[in-house]
Structures are given as C-alpha cells and as structure tokens.
C-alpha cells in the first residue's frame, strides 16, 4: 500500500513524498471522528508561524489517557513549538486544544497548570539557591500567610516522591544538585501542582545512561499512577524503550502517527529525516592531490556541562572541499566545530592549518591562522545587532585590514568595499549603514558570510548556514559557499538538515556520541536514510522489530576514518 501525501513547505514550495507500507500513516488533517472515550489531550490542526517561518502547520495530536506519547522529530521540526502551545507559552494562530474532549483556551502557563498540564523544560525554571522543597512549593505553599507550614511541605512532597520513585534531598539547594536531580525536582514541582498531563521536553538530553533509565522507570510509574506523559525526543531508542504511541513531525507537519509498535525503525527514520529528492547540485569533489588545508588530530573538546563532548576526533581537510558535519543534536559535532574555532577549550589533540601547527588555540589565533567562522546563532554571535552593516563586515580586520589612515578608520574605503560586498552577496538592504538587526535572517547571514569569505580564509567553519531561512536566501548562501570552495577554501559545514548536507557537500562526516563514526564521499548512493541511520548509531540503536530493512545493512561506501 502506498500513501501519497502532498504537503506544502515553507513558502509555497511543494514536495511529493511517498511513504511505503505505512498503513497507519494518515495525511495530516484527515482525522476520522473519534470513537470510544475522548482522548486525554488532543491538538486539532494547530498552526503557528513566526514571521515567514511556519513552525507548525495544522498539527494534530491525540494522546490517550495514561499512555506515554512520544513526539519524534529532528531539530527545527516544530516539536518545541507544539509543546509550548500545549502549555500556554505560545498561542496557536489557528486550531484547537482539547482536554478530555472539551476545548480549552490556554492563554498562559498558569491556565495550563490550572487544567492539570505540567511541563518540564530542557532548561529548568528553578531558583538555584532555594531548596528542592521550596522550589516545588513555590507559589502554592501550605500554611498561614506569615508562617509557611514546612512540615506539611516536606511531608506531602515526601509522600509524592516516594509514591513516584522520584527521590531527591528536599532540604538541599538545587544549585548543588546534578542535572538529573534537578529534573526530578521539576517533575515533582509539576506533579505537586496537580499535573495529570506531564510534558517533558527532550528529558534525556543532559542525562547519563543510568540516569536515563531511572527517569524511564519513574515515567512508567507515573503512568501507572494515572498521569499521562507526552515527551519530545529525536532519539529513536527512546521511542522504542518508552513510548506507547508516537507522532512524527517534520518541518512543522505531522508526517505520521500511531501505535509505536506499528512502525519499524526504517520507517521512523524515513519519516523523521525525510526521503526528499535532492535537487541542489553537489559541490565538486576536490582532486585527491589537492593540498591539505587543515588537519585535526585526536581532538577532545569539553561541552557546556563540563563533560567531554568530543573524544579524540581526527579529520583532514583538503583545499576546495566542502565537508558536511552531521549528527543528532548533542553528539559532539557542534562542540567539535566550536573547538576548532577556538571558542571551546580543546583539551587534547593537535590543530594544523596550512601545515603550521598552532599552540594555545584561541579564537583570535584561529582567525590569524586563516580560519573563518560562521556561528550557529547568527544574530547574537554573528553580528553586533545595533551596528551598521559596514561595521559588522569589517569588525574583524580594522586593526590590520588596511582600513586605517592617519591613525583613524578609513570610513569611505570601508563603505565603498561594503557596497561591493553587498552587491556580490546580494544583500537586500537600504545601504551599508543600515543596522544589522533591521535585516531579515537571510540577509544577516549573508553579512556574516560576506565578512568571513572576504577575508579569504583557508578554512571556513559554518554552523547551520540556512536554518530558518527561506528557499531563495538558502540557495544564495549555498552558492556563496560553493564559490568559496572553488577558490580553494576548505569548508566544514554543520547542519541539522541532512538534505542540505547531501545537497552541498562533497564529503560527509557523521558524529555519534562524541566520535566520528563515518566519513563518506558524497554520491548518488548516499541517501538521507543511510545518514540518518548512522546519526542514530545504526545497529545498536534500533528496536528489534525490523528484521528486514535494518539501515545498518546498507554499508556506507567509504566508511572508516574517525577515532
């Protein structure tokens, strides 16, 4: 059976998508009238757009009472937006939310809490210096106005935590707790406020495997005790371990939903990553004889949580090469890039650029050695928002770029070069003096690229080149990257959009759990499914319900390399 779905993406761009053998996959929005008892929580055709970006398009979700429901999707698929609407943080542009079949309005989180919906965000909303008990009871303390009943707080929370197996030291300030403990405090906080539907946003992102197991046990106990759990994830293994039902989102659309048992791994991967035909051209592969532009040997990089995020990764880049860096969020690929850029501490390994090894790697030294860097968050890290385009374009080279005359900045020269770059990079603006923050996301990105490419780097690091951009701007940016590669720049581009990486890179490196697990030459035989499977850790990650098309059976053409 073949279900064909026509879905419109972004700005009127239409994609034909074919799903094989997915009997349970329904075209979004085509819901049959519910039979039997009403769903505990239901989202009906919720849509939400931020400016031109459609985060959710007619997303529907049905959560059965006392079940664990997973919302699966890649970064930027619209999972978080959906959850925020269900918790009253964001308001849907259209659509309806129903609780037990009754439509509800959730203008703010308070209203959601009043309806028995609780949410645990990835970044916890706890007060660090308050104890666990004080955090849990904040705003709903028992006792008289001028005397909080501490005993009552400790007793009631203690009973709750015992019943759910969520043990924390209630008298300890949360600042001195591990992430997992803080998460337990957050869950208890939601339950203490009477949450019967609990939303967990990527609950395992910061947990160790042991902590993860403990969390899953607790979630099981919660559902047995009558709570309904909705959790966001991009990890297939978690869906397999925990979920009863699953809804899969891609680019703001529901691309599949049903009982988890009805899907096999290959189907989930395909739905999540998408089998979109690759239309853009691939960058020409550099000749194997092209000189080495950079060489990274045994790099280890520390992540935000103080743990090592990259474990001894080695990679060589040749001139004119576009190397795509992919991995599920949090697997070390971003830390690897930021480590090379000199933004994160590199704890071990050797970095060589243009044959010269560098010591004491800092961002300043990296730039001096011929590195260009386009950061992930273009508005806060890529530009000074309030500064005009011209200042942003030359901010990195005012001291040595020849823009100095008689000890002052040669503003007229800066301005005329800015005008040239604005034309070259097709930046839509009112002129070089327009503040960067007034530009659209795509044009801000072009300003950043113009600066980084015009400095003539040997190696250009790019994180998320086109995230949130419309198709036209994305195409222009891909073109600029291809031009830079033709000039001999080695480009290392990180993207959470596998299709983008397939479209623009000549080589693809896949990260999993802080290691380089695959290093492939891009070609027609490399597909999103293969990459997706590698990103998810292939064999050991898949549930054992798909004997046929296990992605690991497809051998990557040029596997190897890595640590």
């Amino acid at each position: 059976m073949v279900a064909t779905t026509r879905s419109s993406i972004g700005s009127g761009f239409s994609v034909l998508m074919t799903n094989h053998d997915l009997a349970t996959v329904e075209p979004h929005g085509a819901g049959e009238p519910p039979t039997g008892p009403p769903y505990r929580l239901e989202a009906v055709k919720l849509s939400k757009a931020y400016g031109q970006l459609t985060a959710n398009h007619e997303v529907s979700l049905r959560v059965t009472s006392q079940s664990v429901h997973a919302v699966l999707g890649e970064n930027g698929a619209g999972k978080s937006t959906l959850m925020k609407m269900l918790y009253g943080v964001e308001q849907p542009d259209s659509g309806q939310i129903r609780l037990d079949g009754v439509p509800v309005k959730l203008p703010n989180p308070k209203a959601a809490v009043a309806h028995g919906i609780g949410m645990v965000f990835q970044h916890f909303g706890l007060v660090p210096s308050l104890t666990a008990a004080e955090n849990i009871a904040l705003g709903v303390e028992p006792g008289r106005p001028w005397r909080i009943d501490k005993r009552e707080i400790l007793d009631s929370i203690g009973a709750l935590s015992d019943a759910m197996g969520l043990h924390v030291d209630l008298k300890r300030p949360v600042a001195r707790m591990s992430t997992a403990q803080q998460q337990r405090v957050e869950i208890l906080k939601a339950l203490y406020r009477g949450a019967r539907v609990l939303i967990l946003d990527e609950p395992t992102a910061l947990l160790t495997p042991q902590e993860r197991r403990a969390l899953f046990d607790a979630v099981r106990r919660l559902t047995e005790a009558g709570t309904t759990v909705l959790f966001i994830t991009h990890k297939l293994s978690e869906v397999a371990e925990l979920a009863d039902d699953v809804t899969i989102l891609r680019r703001g659309h529901v691309v599949g939903h049903g009982r988890h048992a009805d899907f096999n791994t290959a189907q989930l991967v395909e739905l999540m990553v998408g089998g979109r035909p690759v239309t853009a051209r691939r960058a020409p592969a550099p000749l194997p004889t092209a000189p080495k532009a950079a060489s990274f040997t045994g790099l280890s990089v520390t992540g935000s949580q103080g743990r090592e995020a990259v474990h001894g990764v080695s990679l060589d880049l040749r001139e004119g090469e576009v190397c795509g860096l992919v991995g599920v969020d949090g697997n070390g690929q971003l830390e690897f890039l930021e480590g090379i850029a000199g933004i994160r501490p590199v704890t071990a390994g050797r970095i060589e650029i243009g044959g010269v090894a560098l010591r004491r790697w800092t961002h300043r030294r990296a730039r001096a050695a011929g590195l260009g860097y386009v950061p992930e968050d273009r508005l806060s890290a890529g530009v000074v928002p309030a500064f005009p385009i011209v200042d942003n374009m030359f901010a990195d080279r005012i001291t040595y770029g020849g823009y100095r005359r008689h000890g002052r900045l040669d503003k007229s020269r800066m301005r005329s070069e800015a005008v040239r770059l604005i034309e070259d990079f097709d930046i839509r603006c009112t002129g070089p003096l327009q503040p960067a923050e007034r530009l659209s996301g795509g044009n801000i990105q072009k300003v950043v690229l113009a600066r980084e490419i015009s400095r003539g780097p040997k190696v250009l690091l790019v994180a998320e080149p086109t995230r949130g951009l419309d198709i036209g701007a994305a195409a222009r940016i891909h073109e600029a990257l291809a031009d830079a590669a033709r000039e001999g720049t080695a480009i290392l581009v990180l993207s959470s959009d596998v299709d983008e990486v397939l479209a623009i890179s000549s080589r693809i490196c896949v990260f999993h759990e802080g290691r380089l697990v695959a290093d492939l030459v891009n070609g027609d035989e490399v597909t999103a499914e293969i990459i997706g499977a590698l990103m998810l850790g292939s064999a050991e990650d898949g549930p054992a319900d798909s004997p046929a098309a296990s992605p690991a059976d497809v051998a990557p053409p040029a596997a190897g390399g890595g640590a």
């Binding site: 809490v113 970044h123 909303g125 706890l126 210096s129 004080e134 106005p145 001028w146 005397r147 949360v174």
Partner: protein
Amino acid sequence: MLLSTILQNAAPYVLAATGCLLADRAGVVNIASEGMMLFGALAAVLGAGYSGFGLVGLLAAIVVASLLAAILAIFHLHLRANLILAGLAVNLLATGGTVLVLYSLTGRTGDSSGIPQGSLPEIAIPGAEHVPVLASLSGQSIVVWLALISLPATLYLWHRTRLGLYIRAAGESESALVESGLRPNRVRWAALLLSGLLCGMAGAQLSLSTTHGFVRDMVAGRGFIALGAMYLGARTPVGTFVAASLFGVLDAVATVLQVRTNFSTQILLSIPYVAILLALFLNGQRLRRVRRGIGGVS
C-alpha cells in the same frame, strides 16, 4: 562605654544593610539607601521636635523613607527607569531636599539648631547597672533594640514566610516566579518598602540618638557602606548583620580614639571608608574563586 558606643554606631549600619539585603535579594539594588537615611534623619528631628515625642520622630522617618522607596519603585518597576539613575536621583533629591526643607522651616542651611531637639525613647533594663554587658545595653534607644532583633526577624522572614521565599526567588529567577503564577514586581514593591522602612529607622537613630540634631549630609556615606556591608556579608542575613556590625565597631573605635587621643581626626574618620574598600576587594577575590570553582546553574 565602648560597647555602648558600638551599639549606637552599629544600629544604623545593621538596619540599613538589612534593608539593602531585602531589596537586593528581590532583584533591586537599593543604592538610594543613603538618601532614604538622610531624609529619614531630618524627618525624625522634625517629627520629634515639633510633637515633643521621640516615637513620632521615628514614625515620621519611617514614613518619609518609605515614600522615597515608593518613588524608586514607581520609577524603576513601572516606568522602567534605569535603577542606578533613579537611585542617584533619589540621593540627590535627599541632599538638596533636606537642606531646602531645613531652610524653609528654620532659615538655616547647616543644621537643625533652631528646632527643639527630641530624642528616641530608651529602653532600660531594671537593675542592670552593675552587670557588665547588660549595663551597656540598658538605656539604649528603641532603634538599637530593633537593630538587635532585626537579625532573628530577617531569619524568620527568610525561612518561614511566603514573602521571604518570594523575595529570595525574585532576585534570582524571575521566570520561576512567573511560572508559579506570582508577580515579581509585587514582591519587589514589598521588599523596597521594607527597605525604606529600615533605612528610615537607621536615619532616626543617627539624628535622635547617636548624635542629637540634624546636620546637612550627616549620613556621610553610611548608606553606601551599608550596601557594601551587605555584599561583604555574601547577601545573607547573618553575614550582612556581622559585616554591618563590624563597620559599627570601626565607627565607634574612630569616635573613641578621637576623644581620647590626639591622633589625626581626619585619618581616624577615614577608617570605615578605607575598611569598606579593603573589604570589598577581598570579597571580590573570594567571589572570583567561587566562580572559578563552580560553573553555575543553568
């Protein structure tokens, strides 16, 4: 004699620092404490002088200082004025305003010698004249006693009341309060008003007990020192109390040495200011070590 001087000098520091603590932990740095104390001191002299009752003076000081706190709250919390500028404005208002009020009432700009001098009620312990420590305590003004009970009172507020809990949360994680359905600005209003109340008491002690009469700029930086003492005390009730008391000790030592020795008065009077500089420097070093040790909480 020395202990008695210490108590009199420490009380304004302790009360003002506690006031700064409440505001600061709620998320508002009360740099207007200086101005609140100054206006409090004048209001106390006027209230006590014209009514003949010291308690009326204390009440007047509290009301006036709280009014200044309300002005700060309105400008900062509602009109979104920059806190430093609004606080500076309150301080400048106090510097000029007290002289203006003094001049319009007495025709003098320097001191309140034209007004009948009142003083704060004193609390004596019967039969304590010959007991070493109690003898110094006995006969101290009501504000000294209030300063002494301010520590247990603050600790109770901190750990036993909703307001205390919300104050501690408001300064650290506004979003946590909002998510819990509470209004951070209400908490800050309460903390600022309490802060004004305490600074007013501190001012009354200065003009009705530690010294007698109002002299222009008589607070002489004590409000700022109190703010520093609060930071030095690591923004905790006990630490703030101890640090503020320490400055009271230094003040008292300076005063006693001034009377009993012929050491340069200027140098003696600069002791508290040098001490706060040194103390804040050391505190900064400590904080740097702490920050290096702990990555902080996300």
